[in-house]
Symmetry: C2
Subunit: 341 residues, 2 copies
């Protein structure tokens, strides 16, 4: 080996090891399902800014809080949100104990398989469905019902397990943030007790880091054992203006990063941006009719219970400098490819 060759080798090694280019390459590997482009780069740039000790934007580990909406942000919410499939399946499972449901709406339509008709009853019908399927049992019993259901239920068009319809690129963001000492939270309009049984397994997010909508519960001692009974009464709706309220209630400080996909997430992103330091906001836009679903501004597709990526939201995102994911363009893969541990 010539001396010159050795000197060049050492120089190349040093450049590779310590240059900013090397640093970006390394971060790239953390997000392999993202196509290169401004959105992917904006995530990496933000994380590097707040984690490098000598950065003017450095944020201490304790304050590295990131919040994620769930439906449409971490997993598929079309053609209906997953929790509604759960509720519909529960109506069917409980029907033998409720012969009156054969003629009583919204149950009669659900049992005939006509969900659209059932939902014409609006908010009242929905609350009836929730009360019949989500209340009246202990929290331990509900946990088990959800766990059993999610293990076997399948998406109506793809036939996949719902957990396999979580988004691989977002799973990579969760892992990437945690590798950089972020604490990751779910902040969803969905039911808090519906998400907790499986959030750790699929997202690596423990129950105490899940924030969501909830029913009231009541303490009781049954057969000598202390339990909580789920009541048919709404406790909290964790959506729109409710999201910052839920964040403050559960987390107690402003996050520095927020990820959403609809007008239900706008206030959460605004609240995050109100943090005095450097922050990051991202919205997922569903643009891939072939690999997933296309809905949002100018696309018009609306599903009951699903927040909308309105034209107003698009305008706000532009004005505020929020990153907007174009799923078709930005995501190499849509659904999770990793196998569970």
């Amino acid at each position: 080996m010539s001396l010159l060759y050795r000197q060049v080798s050492i120089a190349v090694f040093l450049l590779t090891a310590f240059s900013p280019i090397a640093s970006i390459s390394h971060a790239d590997d953390a997000l392999p399902s993202w196509n290169d482009g401004p959105v992917k780069q904006s995530i990496i740039t933000f994380v590097e800014k707040v984690t490098k000790a000598d950065s003017p934007d450095f944020v201490p580990v304790a304050e590295r809080i990131a919040v994620f909406d769930n439906d449409g942000t971490l997993w598929c919410e079309q053609p209906l949100p997953v929790q509604l499939y759960f509720a519909l399946d529960r109506v069917k499972a409980l029907a033998p104990q409720h012969p009156e449901w054969k003629t009583e709406e919204p149950y009669a339509s659900i049992l005939k398989g006509d969900v659209k008709q059932a939902l014409t009853g609006g908010k009242k019908a929905l609350l009836q469905i929730v009360a019949s399927t989500h209340a009246g049992m202990t929290t331990d019993e509900f946990d088990k019902t959800v766990s059993d259901w999610i293990a076997t239920a399948k998406h109506p068009t793809t036939g996949k397990n719902f957990l396999d319809m979580t988004y691989q690129p977002m799973l990579e963001v969760l892992t990437y943030l945690r590798a950089n000492n972020f604490k990751t939270f779910i902040v969803s309009g969905g039911g808090i007790e519906f998400m907790r049984p499986w959030a750790a397994q699929v997202y690596g997010i423990p129950p105490e880091q899940v924030v969501g909508s909830s029913l009231k519960t009541q303490f009781e001692v049954r057969d000598g054992k202390a339990v909580l009974v789920r009541l048919a009464e709404v406790n909290f709706i964790d959506d729109k203006e409710g999201k910052p309220v839920g964040i403050n209630q559960h987390i107690g400080r402003r996050p520095i990063a927020a990820f959403g996909n609809s007008d239900g997430d706008r206030q959460m992103l605004e609240y995050t941006q109100g943090h005095s330091g450097t922050t990051f906001q991202l919205l997922v836009m569903h643009t891939d009719a072939k690999r997933e679903f296309a809905y949002g501004p100018t696309r018009g597709m609306r599903t009951p219970l699903v927040g909308a990526f309105t034209e107003e939201l698009e305008e706000v995102a532009g004005k505020q400098g929020w990153a907007v994911v174009d799923m078709k363009k930005d995501w190499k893969t849509i659904f999770r490819t990793t196998t569970e541990e």
Copy 2:
């Protein structure tokens, strides 16, 4: 050195290093402010049981959740709970903006220094005091007010800073549990936003691991910044039956260890005991009139707003096998001796 001496030395070393006695000695060091005795031993025995990999009672790290009441369990609540001193000081600070308070109860009595008279107004008076001092500002503003106050306020009889009236033996328990990979939470009847600003500093418990009573908050955009405004409306009372509800809402699973001191904690301890695995419950009994205060069963001292260690609770503790700390006997030191980092 004779051969015999060396052999004995080696034998002693091996015994010291690997025997159960050595293990207890090591744990002892983690709780230096506790006198030896059954209560101290019960804490150590529990922790060793659930953390040793080959133990039949082994609990995975994710499930090692421990909950602590605050007033009377982690810090002094006599002669009045600390949050009431905060409220009284706020009434005095805000009085110039409220000339009508000079003649209006409960404010008039507070301004005259007659707290006892002010509290004869019962729950109504208390809610008025809370509304006037804890609501009407943003959460960020309230956080700053609390932080400023706690930094300088002094206990009326000891003259100590309130943070120096946290209990050294309990600080050691918190540290000991965390060293064994427990996640520690506060679950208090006190205000969640009153505790969060200083809980990390004194207890090592971050805001997201503080559960407490709360007021409703409302999302607003003020001068282009998203804020939460504290409303004069109770959101949740985290006491008695409310504690398991708060635990489920915030933590989402049953703790395996719970520490309290009054009938306000009974349901939290019962709920913890309802966990299917090995659990631990402890109550602090205030028996040391000389070094702190003596109140509880047969002692009769009652303070408005402070839960009681009733004779019924003492009976339940005995029946359920809960550990009961006799402060006078079990604690070498009462107040914290460590200096802040």
